[in-house]
């Protein structure tokens, strides 16, 4: 299988406190991979490191063969990697549709977009078509002209996924997409995300909800204290001795049974 994202020996310490210690893994196109682990195991730092928000101390991160580890976040986005955040703060006064349009920043030169012209109009029309398409697929058509700040928590999560998709990513990283989301919507999300993967978009998902991981992911990466302690299918998690060790006695050993 070809690989899309390769993470090799990624290490990061904050003030001498090692958060990532030589993390290695790879993801192929269209693959859905979950990242799980106890609080403080380095999941969010891993996402921040890959997306360029946290510079790494050592190691290599490559997307389609291009090294990412010294690039600014907006450059990494340009290479086809989009992400969402745990707490999506949306512009208060912009409508849902405008927020989606603002998230489309491919191919737009600074001066070109001020000068206008036929090419600009064609691109603007393409953005609008793309935004309309994602509004439909993410069940947001009804709130197209609502100010983004007025959305419910779940709708904000969907909108932030929509923003990420406006960049036509090859890899989409989601940070706790189901936190605070109603179970019905959670079920819809599983179908939506599987639909994205079917189109070849790889998904890397940090998540605490083991049901969600179990239904959605083909593979799990288990982090513990900044190390990958296991890579297996969700069903194999409860038989994995190192996973049990990472979870047992710490937070919630019970959730592992739920995943099976």
């Amino acid at each position: 299988m070809s690989t899309l994202l390769t993470v090799t020996g990624v290490t990061k310490a904050f003030a001498g406190n090692a958060v990532l210690q030589g993390v290695d893994f790879a993801i192929g196109p269209g693959e859905i991979v979950g990242v799980i682990g106890p609080n403080g195991s380095g999941k969010s730092t891993l996402l921040n490191a890959i997306s360029g928000f946290t510079p790494v101390d050592a190691g290599r991160i490559e997307l389609g063969g291009a090294p990412l580890q010294r690039l600014a976040p907006h450059r990494i986005h340009g290479l086809g990697l989009a992400r969402t955040f745990q707490l999506p703060a949306m512009p208060e006064k912009m409508t849902v549709f405008e927020v989606l349009l603002a998230a489309d920043n491919r191919r737009h030169g600074f001066w070109a977009s001020l000068c206008g012209g036929a090419e600009q109009r064609a691109q603007e029309a393409a953005s609008r078509a793309l935004a309309t398409q994602w509004l439909g697929e993410l069940l947001l058509t009804g709130v197209r002209d609502t100010p983004a700040a007025a959305l419910s928590g779940g709708q904000k999560k969907l909108l932030s996924v929509g923003c990420a998709l406006m960049g036509n990513p090859r890899l989409l990283m989601l940070d706790e997409p189901t936190a605070g989301v109603h179970p019905n919507l959670r079920r819809d999300m599983v179908a939506m995300l599987q639909g994205l993967a079917a189109r070849g978009i790889a998904l890397l998902i940090v998540e605490h909800d083991m049901h969600f991981i179990g239904e959605l992911c083909q593979r799990c990466i288990v982090l513990d204290r900044g190390r990958v302690v296991a890579q297996c299918t969700p069903a194999q998690l409860s038989q994995h001795p190192q996973v049990l060790q990472a979870y047992l006695g710490s937070e919630h050993p019970v959730v592992l049974e739920a995943a099976v």
Partner: protein, 297 residues
Amino acid sequence: MLQFLFDTLSRSSDLALIALGLSLVYGLAKFPNIAHVQYAMLGAFASVVLQRAGTPLALALGMASLLAGSLAVLCNLWVFSRLRRQGPAIAMIGSLALAMILVAAALAGHGASPLAYRLPLSAPWVLGPLFVAPNQALAMGVTLAVLLACTWLLLGTRQGRAMRALACNPPLAAAAGLDAERIIHAVHFLGAALAGLGGALLALNTGAYVNLGNDLLLPIFAAAILGGLGNPLGAVFGGLLIALAETLVTNLNIGWLYGQPMAFVPAGYIGAASFVILLLALLLRPYGLFDREVRRV
């Protein structure tokens, strides 16, 4: 009455560009830049000096605006981009220090005496009951044109949309492929260019003088806060209200209070009007007049 309305509009056009610039920068950089009014002062000096040296007035105004914008980009690069990381309070104190340095530089470079454009004296146009100084009309015309251009930039272009989106959440914008640093630079340039132009136009009436910026501090901040800091077009409206209050205070005949046919508040108390409005705004509508959002936690 017509003259009163015209004076109000004229004064609000003095304030509009500078208040717009302040609010624009606040929206993105998230700190109130006290040095902003000094860009207006320097713009006034630059424009007057250029014009006196023989540059045509229109060119002098434009160059002053560009110079103020460029200075702001340097200030952002050297001072604010570092200070902003320490939080808005630190950045604001830094901007206060920068304001003092800019005033001191103007004082050292030119001295305390005002400097006026070298323009031929022209009689005011008499339009019915209205007296309009040609300079006033020029300033108002330019202001209106620039305001319309800014409105189009903010609401009608992709860059404007990017600025409005970035104002909310820089990491989110970066994750959507926006180069936050470059847009913040662009907005500092734009905000200061507006202030420089506003100051240069103001100097048509008052001349350029060292305290031009300091005299603007209260009305400009009052206007921007009244309009909701970070809401650029609100700031223009805030400027209109401040101008109304100032014109009202100085034109109101309060003779009846003293049993005399005529008595007016001395012009020196103009500043008090904006100060009172600023206080009321902070007490009653701290997020501005146009804030109707429900604040979710």
